[in-house]
């Protein structure tokens, strides 16, 4: 049979060039910079600000991992036991809220002058600082743990195995310790690694909740060194910090559980299970967590956006849409347009490149190629952005093209993994059946494989779009006049002190993201009725 086609070379060429442009060259350029300025950069690393930022980042990452593992695992186990779709949806819901919006909503809810302060005189003194930063990132990262652990529980049919253990005389605690936890150990380690990467990557949350308390992480320090410092050594410090982040990420990349591939979204797919009273108590606790961490802050964010002035009671008589009108300046509209265009371009390119990568994965070189986007996903966005700045300044500095390059490098894997997973799930017999039915390879691709992959392609596109449209960590380092994104404009507004307009923009962004992302994560689609008549 024919094995080589004219477009094979084109495909390899496209992949090689793109990998080089979006990942390879920037990383090499960063390495060269470190080697050529080794003495200065080495000295930068022992600068007291760097050491403090490293320590803070390490503590936040570790504490975030522990917290989100507890929340996500508890949510997954209880949702599995109770079969509650609404609880599963609630546990996943924070993934749809941009992390910095989540942090803003916490400020509107729990800080001095926030909703709980206005209504009950209760404020959270430690909101600004390491505890607030850690808990906020943990709430945003917990859905990742929930999805991975739920997938692992479902794949192992854990509920059946636990019932077998209980029927053999094991208590609930013994069953959890001797059956459930060993089964999901790999998922826990993998999702913990993902959370560490996400925490080290976070910029928006530390910027909103850390900086007001003087709490720096590596990402906020890199941003300050690049954006505000007039010190010549500042750039070296940013490069040094980026290099260290990259090395840490490379070490963690081997542990990163694939965040999207083959992880079934459990909403709607939970096995019915006997519901015990302790499950109900656990579910009530989780609903309490969701109310405090997600619902109340979102309500506060919306109220801050629609109540006429701070300090007024949040009653309908004080509601107005004026803040939305004032927030949507021409700059905000231009930034929103940039965000959407960037997200559309990044999603389309990532799906195209993810698909191209899937077609070469049967070769050894293709498998090597596959690991590069995965490693790139593990690299914190700050480091990628600095590498891209080094590689493509001054020609592309402050342009949308530069932002697009790092978006593709960062989010490529989010398109590739679902596509690869979907291809893996197509039984080889379906293709053979088409060949035996008289179809040639082109017809098999167009009429059999293509339609079967359509949901995965759509899902991959939406996933990349969602991540790109509210991205902040990289764009905040790369934007310039004319290339602002909605996230950077929103954060700048906040730093200028206009909290109502900030909340109005944040609400708009969240509504858009939820509207687009909810069908993807919650599986809201027409389900076919399964008929089993003989």
């Amino acid at each position: 049979m024919r094995s080589r086609r004219p477009w094979v070379a084109v495909r390899w060429g496209l992949l090689s060039v793109t990998l080089s442009v979006v990942i390879g060259y920037p990383v090499i350029r960063l390495g060269v910079e470190v080697l050529t300025n080794f003495a200065d950069i080495g000295a930068s690393l022992v600068h007291h600000a760097s050491i403090r930022a490293f320590a803070n980042t390490a503590v936040v990452a570790a504490a975030t991992a522990v917290t989100s593992l507890l929340i996500g695992t508890a949510g997954a186990v209880v949702a599995q036991r109770t079969g509650s779709r609404s609880l599963a949806a609630a546990m996943i819901s924070p993934i749809l809220i941009p992390p910095f919006v989540s942090a803003l909503s916490w400020v509107d809810a729990y800080a001095g002058g926030g909703l709980t302060d206005d209504l009950f005189g209760v404020r959270w003194a430690r909101l600004f600082g390491p505890i607030g930063v850690t808990l906020s990132i943990a709430v945003n990262a917990a859905p990742v743990v929930f999805l991975i652990v739920s997938g692992s529980l479902a794949a192992h049919r854990e509920s059946d195995l636990v019932e077998a253990a209980r029927a053999s005389g094991a208590s609930a605690v013994v069953a959890l310790r001797s059956v459930t936890l060993p089964l999901i150990r790999r998922a826990l380690v993998g999702s913990g690694a993902v959370v560490v990467v996400l925490a080290a990557n976070a910029y928006g949350v530390p910027a909103v909740l850390g900086l007001p308390a003087g709490f720096d992480t590596i990402t906020t320090l890199i941003h300050r060194e690049l954006a505000f410092s007039a010190d010549a050594a500042a750039f070296n410090r940013a490069v040094a910090l980026s290099m260290v982040l990259m090395i840490l990420a490379a070490a963690l990349a081997t542990r990163v559980e694939r965040p999207t591939a083959r992880t079934p979204v459990p909403v709607g797919g939970l096995a019915p299970h006997r519901v015990h009273s302790r499950h109900r108590r656990s579910a009530a606790l989780l609903w309490g967590y969701w109310t405090a961490a997600v619902l109340v802050p979102l309500v506060a964010l919306v109220l801050r956006a629609i109540v006429r002035a701070p300090g007024l009671d949040p009653i309908p008589a004080h509601w107005t849409l004026d803040h939305f009108r004032t927030a949507w300046t021409s700059l905000a509209v231009e930034a929103a347009t940039n965000s959407v265009l960037l997200a559309v371009a990044a999603a389309s390119l990532c799906v195209l490149l993810g698909g191209a990568l899937v077609t070469v994965r049967t070769t050894r070189l293709g498998r090597y190629f596959e690991t590069v986007p995965l490693a790139s996903f593990a690299v914190p966005g700050s480091a990628l952005a600095v590498a891209a700045l080094l590689a493509y300044s001054p020609r592309l500095r402050d342009t949308i093209a530069l932002v697009l390059i790092v978006y593709v490098g960062k989010f490529w894997v989010l398109a590739h993994r679902p596509l690869a997973g979907a291809v893996d799930r197509i039984p080889v017999e379906t293709r053979l059946a088409a060949r035996a039915s008289g179809a040639n390879e082109r017809e098999v691709l167009l009429r059999i494989v293509g339609p079967m992959l359509r949901p995965a392609v759509t899902g991959a596109w939406v996933l990349v779009f969602l991540f790109a449209v509210h991205e902040l960590t990289m764009s905040v380092l790369l934007f310039g006049p004319g290339s602002e994104t909605l996230a950077t404009v929103t954060l700048n507004l906040r730093q200028l002190g206009d909290s109502a307009a900030t909340s109005a923009l944040a609400v708009t962004m969240t509504v858009g993201v939820v509207a687009l992302g909810a069908p993807l994560f919650f599986g809201w689609k027409t389900r076919r009725r399964v008929v089993t008549t003989p």
């Binding site: 049979m1 039984p427 017999e429 379906t430 053979l432 059946a433 088409a434 060949r435 035996a436 039915s437 008289g438 179809a439 040639n440 017809e443 009429r447 059999i448 339609p451 079967m452 359509r454 076919r528 009725r529 399964v530 008929v531 089993t532 008549t533 003989p534």
Partner: protein, 340 residues
């Protein structure tokens, strides 16, 4: 490459010395056989014996490292050459069924017809007739996920025969069906075969399917065809204990003393004798055995006996159903040496 006529046109499909290897591991060795128009070859063997691999080689899904496959007198597979499946004029029903989930049952069955250049309306009509023939004519508008496994399997069979190919390659085509539906499918295939003169190659691990449906049976073991014969010949004279067990219920009696043969009537002994249940006359002869258990089988009763030469399964007419512990007389009407 030009098609090379084999010069033997009596067989619709013929395979000679076919060896298939995955890497360095040979999973099928030197398989040889042929099927004439309107006849059926059953590949009978346990899991991993090479049945599906042989079907894959005939369909062109895998290449051969030795030997050749010819269809309608044209060599389609030989070392270094594997004509694609769509050029072979075969229809395949898969063990995993492999219906396309985004198409209705009707669209699944119509797809091969569209590939053959039929007009859309004709495709739909023929596909509906085929679905009717396999008993699911009213389910054509449903998707595979909306019907049961048995209904999917029937649609898979209808799809395999839709193009009216010269050869039907069927891999466990009735595995997901209960007994009455199996008979329905087999009747539908027989009817199709008679009308079209197609050759059928069917893989199965079930002796009742394998023997009932076949004109010729090929028994496969560990990647080799160990016996090719008519179903009657394979059943009546399996040759060895393994083949005997593969083709039906069998007992093995170990007779060391030739004088024992006078008692139980076994010939040609001595040695190990293969005995089918219906080859034993119970209630006659001089040998005595104890009933261990008995099972009601509808039209007859099957009983397990403990004899001095080993366990023996026998067939009794209804309503005889001896209680466990009962002593019965018996003698062999027929037996064959194991040849092991």
């Amino acid at each position: 490459m030009e098609d090379a006529p084999t010069g033997r046109h009596d067989a619709v499909i013929e395979f000679r010395g076919v060896t298939v290897a995955y890497g360095r591991h040979e999973v099928l060795r030197e398989a040889t056989g042929s099927v004439a128009a309107g006849t059926t070859l059953t590949l009978l063997g346990p899991s991993g014996s090479g049945k599906t691999t042989l079907l894959n080689a005939l369909a062109g899904f895998v290449g051969v490292v030795e030997g050749e496959v010819a269809i309608d007198g044209v060599v389609r597979s030989s070392p270094g050459r594997t004509d694609p499946p769509d050029s072979r004029n075969v229809g395949v029903a898969f063990q995993q069924i492999a219906l396309w989930p985004h198409m209705t049952l009707l669209e699944n069955v119509a797809f091969p017809l569209r590939q053959a250049g039929e007009r859309r309306a004709a495709c739909e009509q023929i596909a509906r007739e085929l679905l009717d023939r396999v008993g699911i004519g009213d389910l054509g508008d449903r998707f595979p996920s909306q019907v049961s496994g048995g209904q999917q399997q029937r649609a898979g069979v209808a799809r395999a025969i839709a193009r009216r190919p010269a050869v039907y390659l069927l891999d466990e085509p009735t595995a997901h069906l209960d007994a009455p539906l199996r008979s329905d499918i087999q009747r539908a295939l027989r009817l199709e075969q008679r009308e079209r003169g197609a050759a059928i190659v069917m893989a199965t691990h079930d002796p009742s399917d394998g023997l009932a449906f076949a004109d010729t049976v090929a028994v496969l073991r560990e990647g080799r065809i160990t016996r090719t014969d008519t179903p009657e010949a394979v059943y009546d004279d399996p040759g060895d204990e393994w083949t005997a067990r593969m083709t039906g219920t069998i007992s093995v009696l170990r007779v060391a003393d030739p004088t024992d043969l006078l008692l139980i009537g076994g010939l040609p002994g001595p040695g190990s004798l293969l005995v089918r249940p219906e080859w034993v006359d119970v209630g006659e002869g001089a040998a005595v055995a104890t009933v261990v258990d008995s099972w009601f089988r509808g039209d007859h009763v099957e009983a397990g006996l403990d004899t001095a030469w080993g366990s023996l399964t026998v067939r009794l007419p209804r309503p005889d159903r001896p209680a466990p512990g009962t002593n019965v007389r018996w003698r062999l009407r027929r037996s064959v040496p194991t040849g092991d």
